[in-house]
Amino acid sequence: MNSDFDMDLKGMFAEMPEPGDGERFVEKTGARIARRRFGRRLLGIVLVILTVLLIAASILRPTGLNAYLIGWPQTVAIRISTAALSPAGMAVGGWLGLLVFVKLRLFGRGFALKN
């Protein structure tokens, strides 16, 4: 009896119709891939720009008389860089970086289901 039902069930699974309108699905998948690709490229460009700006700001940061003449808020800049380079600043930065890393799934995410 059970084996009869097993066979019936296998047959029913095999006969279950495949969802229709494959072309529309292909189009939608293509659009989703295109969006994902655009997002990743945009993210890459933004990261490159931010890195360049950061390096430029750290190299070209005006000091002394130049900073005074152009009104560069040196005190604030020094405070920000001091905070960022402190252990607490690094911890906060690392935590935020980890959050971005996980949320954006830049390097994929584990699939293992813990039980």
Partner: protein, 187 residues
């Protein structure tokens, strides 16, 4: 191996050749793979999650992930199984919050298709599957729909063997009850 990737050439090419081309980053080749495999993956997702809209969404997600990772595929011949594993993992990611291992009540809340009192309510395998718990549906679909052994299901879902067996046993019993009740109602 084909090159250039015109639509007619791709349609006529073997899957291994198309996969090989897709692994080099050819978008048309990947599109052809989606066209060839979408039916099976959507059907699998429908069996796993029991909802057509959700199934299509997860199937798309599986193809997007496959597109991202295809360069890491070891052999073009393994594409089918690899894609199926990705699809199962996508489903598992979405049901992770619910407890797959938890047993369910014998009589869950009435399914919309049958609980409305409408004698003409449609009750086929798809709606019967939708009445099972996530864990039961997953294990039954992988066992009967995909022909996977209990060991393979354990490996794919990371569920203990005993849980897989009990899900299949309980799921089958419930499917049998739902389907036979429907047959009687129809007669």
């Amino acid at each position: 191996v084909i090159s250039g990737g015109s639509k007619n050439t791709l349609t006529a090419a073997t899957e291994a050749a198309v996969v090989g081309l897709a692994m080099t980053g050819d978008d048309r080749a990947f599109e052809e793979l989606v066209r060839r495999r979408q039916g099976a993956i959507r059907k699998l997702m429908l069996q796993l999650c029991g909802d057509r809209v959700l199934a299509d969404d997860y199937a798309q997600e599986a193809f997007v992930l496959a597109w991202r990772k295809i360069h890491a595929l070891r052999s073009p011949a393994a594409f089918g199984g690899w894609l199926k594993r990705i699809a199962i993992n996508i489903h598992l990611q979405h049901v992770r919050r619910t407890d797959l291992a938890a047993p369910t009540d014998d009589e869950p809340a009435a399914h919309p298709a049958t609980g409305s009192g409408n004698p003409a309510a449609r009750m086929d395998l798809e709606s019967a599957l939708a009445r099972l718990s996530s864990g039961e549906r997953l294990c039954v679909a992988l066992s009967y729909g995909q022909g996977m052994s209990h060991g393979e299901i354990c490996e794919a879902t990371k569920l203990p063997l005993g849980t897989v067996k009990s899900h299949i046993s309980r799921g089958c019993a419930r499917l049998r009850r739902y389907l036979s009740a429907y047959e009687e109602q129809r007669e």
